[in-house]
Symmetry: C2
Subunit: 334 residues, 2 copies
DNA sequence: GTGAAAGCGCTAACAC
DNA sequence: GTGTTAGCGCTTTCAC
């Protein structure tokens, strides 16, 4: 079976004590240069690596951080993960990625598992279904550092990173208005998500500015964030069947944008103009086309990670928390 | 700080020894039902969870399996990951996902890290850049169970899962031929990958069957799997500038397919017909359109995981290895 | 400058 | 049926 070299093996080989070896390895100042070199060279030679499991047990921390996102297949999240990893690795942390698939139960299980696994902190974007936050609050109260990004929990006292959802939504909606559209529908994520509220504000603001009345009938929520089969298509059908059929749609998330375009194509309504949040890197290939609001996902991941590590490594309990709001970029089609 | 309950706390509270508690918790037959109930109830009440770190240290295994893929943003891999997780979780294992981004160095670091992290085994699909396999062979020799999927290492004695790359490529190419194309180019991944060789065989077979000569000039390899900026576009440009400009392209992977379509659009060559490997779930939205060969990614992940766990849990060293080849599905456009 | 020993949380042989 | 003890690999007092 797989049996790595231990500090003991080195000690035996070099006729030293394990403590001396340990100290030499971590460059303890008490050790003579001679011994230090001896140990270091030998360790190098046999490719010794400290056992992080033992270290974790000893230090009650693991130098790993947990990530909870709805799914890695979503470009926004995979970019964010890349950002998280870039910072984490550079600071000596590893990451453990877990997916909630927008399910509340999965999120609960994932969080518990990460906590048991002794991650030093968690970076999370809430699942679409999550309405109860006890599982997070409990861990937070127990002292586990938690940072939110994208889909944040406003009520929790901790660091948060979002993009400027209001402005992003405003720009997209105003673009549709300037295109001459008057009946602009809004396809949204589940109602209780922070991003849903924010993006709806931007949508409404744009309507108001241009004297277009806001109509509740034009708004559809996807409770499962589009993870449920047919969820998005059903929402789209009900919009398309409205007596006053929309001439444009503002879509509030990546996954919904894809579902929206697919539904328009399927139901031969390509004349409806779509603008929405999406970080897709192949958006120029889409037909019907999509004007999109892009979030700085990579950077959001980086910042969230810096924030998390700052809490983890803080000498004293952190009392002051920050919410960073990054700008989105709007890329209209033509 | 975050301080979970330990078995010791329970022992103290219940005035028992830690071993009794430990045994009761795992349902040891020697413990009286009375004590067992006492312990179980109390553990339940205070929401006790065994510390997996301590367990790992003790048992020299972690009940976690490592995954190495080029990137999670790639649909094929994210689907495979979902398959892996489905089996892993059901059998009590956790997963640690790591991305090579098709870089050799990253792959080496990831593998080492996973091994140090005491994963019980690794499921890997090779990076496009990887040409040297010592990092894998070393761990394998040390007894770490390894299973390959998709981009496999033929020379290693272990379980492997692939899709029927030859047949998939054959079908796609033949489809192009039946569409009336005669000058069919081939955009491929890096040359040393198993899938590259296999898919090229299928491509050639189809040409041969229909009496079209194979031309080396029509083949382009992407050494970095398309992860390098402009890599795919450059390859495409050189194909488009050929004296005998191709009238169709068979593309050998998901990422390349996207790059290929983007390049065709950018260089106004939408008349060229494209067929290629892709597991994209929004392929019907693409323009130019893509006829695609789909791999059963989820199932491949599941099978790989079952194989891995069978090695991990084998009582005796496994000597007989299996290579499972799953069928692809071809979805032509129109 | 180096070694012996205790302890992180858990399990399992070995008492009793 | 339950307790004692040693040990997984490592760090870190405390001796010397």
């Amino acid at each position: 079976m797989f049996k790595p070299v231990t500090i003991k093996d080195i000690a035996k080989e070099l006729k030293l004590s394990t403590s001396t070896v340990s100290r030499a390895l971590r460059g303890g100042y008490e050790i003579s240069d001679e011994t230090k070199k001896l140990v270091l060279d030998y360790a190098e030679k046999i490719n010794f690596k400290r056992n992080p499991i033992a270290l974790s047990l000893k230090e009650r921390r693991s130098y790993s951080i947990g990530i909870v996102v709805c799914e890695v297949a979503n470009v926004f999240f995979s970019q964010a993960i890349d950002g998280i990893e870039s910072i984490a690795y550079s600071k000596g942390y590893n990451t453990i990625i877990s997916q909630s698939h927008d399910k509340y139960e999965r999120e609960v299980i994932n969080m518990e598992h990460l906590a048991n696994r002794s991650v030093d902190g968690i970076i999370i974007s809430l699942a679409a279904e999550t309405k109860n936050y006890e599982h997070i609050e409990k861990l937070h109260k127990q002292g586990l550092p938690i940072v939110f990004f994208d889909r944040i929990l406003e009520s929790m006292q901790t660091h948060k990173v979002t993009s400027n959802n209001v402005k992003g939504a405003f720009e997209a909606t105003e673009y549709l208005i300037k295109k001459g559209c008057k009946k602009i529908a809004h396809l949204a994520n589940s109602e209780q998500l922070s991003i849903t509220a924010q993006r709806q504000i931007g949508y409404k603001d744009a309507l108001t500015k241009h004297h277009i009345p806001f109509k509740k009938e034009y708004v559809r929520y996807c409770e499962h964030g589009g993870s449920m089969k047919d969820e998005v298509e059903q929402a789209m059908i009900s919009l398309l069947n409205l007596p006053e059929k929309p001439d444009a749609i503002f879509v509030a998330s990546d996954r919904l944008s894809m579902g929206c375009l697919a539904a328009l194509k399927k139901h031969h309504s390509e004349n409806i103009i779509v603008a929405g949040f999406s970080n897709s890197d192949v958006v120029e290939l889409f037909s019907p086309s999509l004007s999109c609001v892009r979030q700085p996902a990579f950077e959001m991941g980086q910042i969230a990670t810096e924030m998390l590590i700052s809490i983890i490594e803080a000498k004293y309990p952190v009392e002051e928390f920050e919410t960073r709001i990054l700008d989105t970029t709007f890329s209209p089609i033509a």
